[in-house]
């Protein structure tokens, strides 16, 4: 089959590789019809995530048609499914509590050592996201092996196009959980750092959960415009001073809840950010956490901070004093995708949530390296790149 494979920093290629097979009774093989490039794929593209190996197939946002099932899969051939990016068993203690991303069994035993050492306990497996998260082949390919297919994939009713439901795989539930973790109360002002897909879904979700005002922060005008379309007020951090603006816009109080949807690769030439970049490139520190620092500083006393943004390692200059003195609450975590799927599928079908607005580029899978370059280099215009297997490569003027 054809698949997008990783070979190093800014080096991804579409190669012919051998097909996936059913290995365990609960497996299914999915023929991919649509797959997206995620902002967190750019962390791989930029070489920030350790334990990648040349030839690894990327992609954790995908959907398609069931073409083969193991003896204990509950799926049927021909069904259309969206697959969560987290690989969770459904039978351990954590899955029982719907903490799917904390699943005990999603990672192969040998791959659990790194997470156990780095985080204290192993986490769920992830598709196409390094060997530390299981070494599972991802879905930017023609076919993919899906473990625990009786637990993860959600069956999509006929007549709903891919574009409406594809984002159930990751960014929609991630934005929704981010807003849920912000514990929004009626009358609240919610600030959202980052108007990428997760931030924009967090904006929509925050309003649905009763926020009175949402203030969205980014520096790409196109992304701020999308946030504005959903009713958010905006701060362009290249034009205005974020902390000062937030304080003035909230009557000197600060936002009741702050959502950091930026994470590991914070943009902008702030002093602490530059120091972080130097440290990251010299392996003295692995994460660049400007946005979370700013969120903690701006957040009102006794407020809530929600962090859907992905962090992997260690940070310094974390404002622990402000966090403690103001009595803030921080909630975070990889998304418990399986928990949110039925409710969010309904919300899409009832047209309470708009998902298709995000897609700026639809390309053949064969053009996936172009897709990565566009998504990486043109973040103002490229809000989301969707890839379609089974089409010839096209020449792009980029």
């Amino acid at each position: 089959m054809r698949a997008l494979t990783w070979h190093g920093k800014h080096d991804v290629r579409v190669d012919t590789v051998d097909d996936p097979e059913i290995l365990n009774p609960r497996d299914a093989i999915i023929k991919i019809t649509s797959t997206a490039i995620c902002g967190s794929d750019l962390h791989l593209y930029d070489g920030y995530i350790p334990t990648m190996q040349a030839g690894d197939i990327l992609g954790h946002e995908f959907m398609g048609e069931v073409v083969e099932v193991g003896g204990k899969s509950t799926l049927k051939k021909g069904q259309r499914v969206v697959v969560p990016f987290t690989i969770s068993c459904g039978s351990c203690y954590h899955c029982g509590k719907h903490q799917y991303s904390a699943c005990d069994n999603g990672l192969p035993a040998d791959n659990q050592d790194i997470a156990q050492t780095l985080y204290g306990q192993p986490m769920a497996g992830l598709f196409g996201y390094s060997h530390m998260t299981g070494g599972y082949s991802g879905g930017q390919a023609e076919y993919v092996r899906v473990p625990f297919s009786d637990v993860g994939p959600i069956v999509i009713p006929d007549g709903i196009e891919d574009e409406k439901v594809l984002f159930l795989s990751d960014i929609l539930p991630t934005g929704w959980m981010a807003a849920e973790n912000a514990e929004i109360e009626p009358g609240d002002t919610v600030a959202v750092w980052g108007c990428g897909p997760v931030g924009l879904f967090a904006v929509q979700s925050a309003f649905l959960m009763g926020a009175e005002r949402v203030i969205a922060i980014d520096h790409f005008p196109r992304r701020l415009e999308l946030a504005r379309q959903f009713g958010a007020e905006t701060i362009n951090f290249e034009e205005s001073a974020t902390y000062e603006a937030l304080m003035e816009m909230t009557g000197g109080i600060g936002p009741d809840a702050c959502i950091d949807a930026v994470g590991l690769e914070a943009h902008g030439l702030f002093v602490d950010n530059v120091i972080d970049q130097i440290k990251a490139s010299t392996f003295l520190g692995t994460d660049r956490p400007h946005s979370i620092r700013q969120a903690i500083l701006a957040c009102r006393k006794g407020g809530r901070v929600s962090m859907p943004a992905v962090y992997g390692g260690f940070v310094d200059k974390f404002p622990l004093g402000a966090f403690m003195q103001k009595g803030l609450t921080l909630k975070t975590g990889q998304t418990h995708v399986q928990h949110y799927l039925p409710g969010l599928l309904n919300a899409i079908m009832e047209e309470k949530i708009d998902t298709t607005f995000l897609i700026s580029h639809t390309l053949p899978l064969e053009n996936a390296p172009d897709g990565y370059r566009i998504f990486h280099d043109k973040q103002n215009e490229a809000t989301k790149v969707v890839l379609k297997p089974g089409f010839d490569r096209v020449e792009l003027d980029i």
Binding site: D18, D19, L23, C89, S91, Y93, N105, P108, A109, P122
Partner: protein, 201 residues
């Protein structure tokens, strides 16, 4: 006999977490018994919580022929009689080591202790204990293994294998046991059979 842990300074943590390795091994040997022809100075202990009933886990484990399905290094286990089993375990360079284990104590649904018989390539003893977890979380399974890496030429190879990361091997085996019991399968990140057989995860 090696120095043991001073009872006056003992706490409630398992001996396997002691900062005084050989004293902990000697204390454990006094407690659990040691293999007939060895003086064990290595102690491994690992605990895992498995979301399944105690009786089911015990029954699966007590049928020793099941163990190679999740113990990666164990090639095969042949039953000699109700209490004795013969183990063939992979060693570096395509060779293997063998011993016969005899069950020295067992309490249905709770506890199995064993020790290797005389002539073992790697004298070892140990126990596997099953306790109900609190709050209906299933069963707490604790494996404790004492072993004595032997001297001699073959001993050097064996010692190398067993001393490499014996605790990690035990931890991985217990994780696979948990996966098999909770999910009915052992997780793999391999895409297909070829990659699985090449050990690529």
């Amino acid at each position: 006999m090696a120095e043991t842990i001073d009872p006056a300074r003992a706490d409630d943590a398992p001996l396997s977490t002691s900062k005084h390795g050989s004293a902990a091994a000697a204390t454990a040997a006094r407690e659990y018994g040691s293999p007939t022809d060895g003086d064990p100075d290595e102690l491994i202990g690992r605990t895992v919580t498995i979301n399944r009933p105690r009786a089911e886990l015990y029954a699966f484990w007590r049928d020793f022929t099941n163990l190679p399905s999740f113990m990666d290094n164990v090639e095969r286990i042949e039953l000699r009689d109700a209490r004795r089993s013969h183990w063939t375990v992979k060693a570096p360079g395509g060779s293997h080591v063998e011993w016969t284990a005899v069950v020295t104590e067992e309490r249905e649904g709770e506890y199995i202790a064993w020790t290797s018989e005389e002539g073992a390539d790697v004298p070892n003893s140990g126990s596997i204990a099953f306790k109900d977890a609190q709050g209906g979380r299933g069963t707490i399974v604790t494996a404790t293994i004492l072993y004595d890496p032997p001297a001699g030429i073959i001993g050097k190879v064996i010692a190398k294998m067993f001393q490499r990361e014996p605790a990690i091997q035990a931890r991985r085996d217990l994780r696979r046991f948990k996966q098999l019991m909770e999910t009915g399968e052992v997780a793999t990140g391999a895409r297909n059979r070829r990659l699985l057989e090449e050990g690529k995860n």
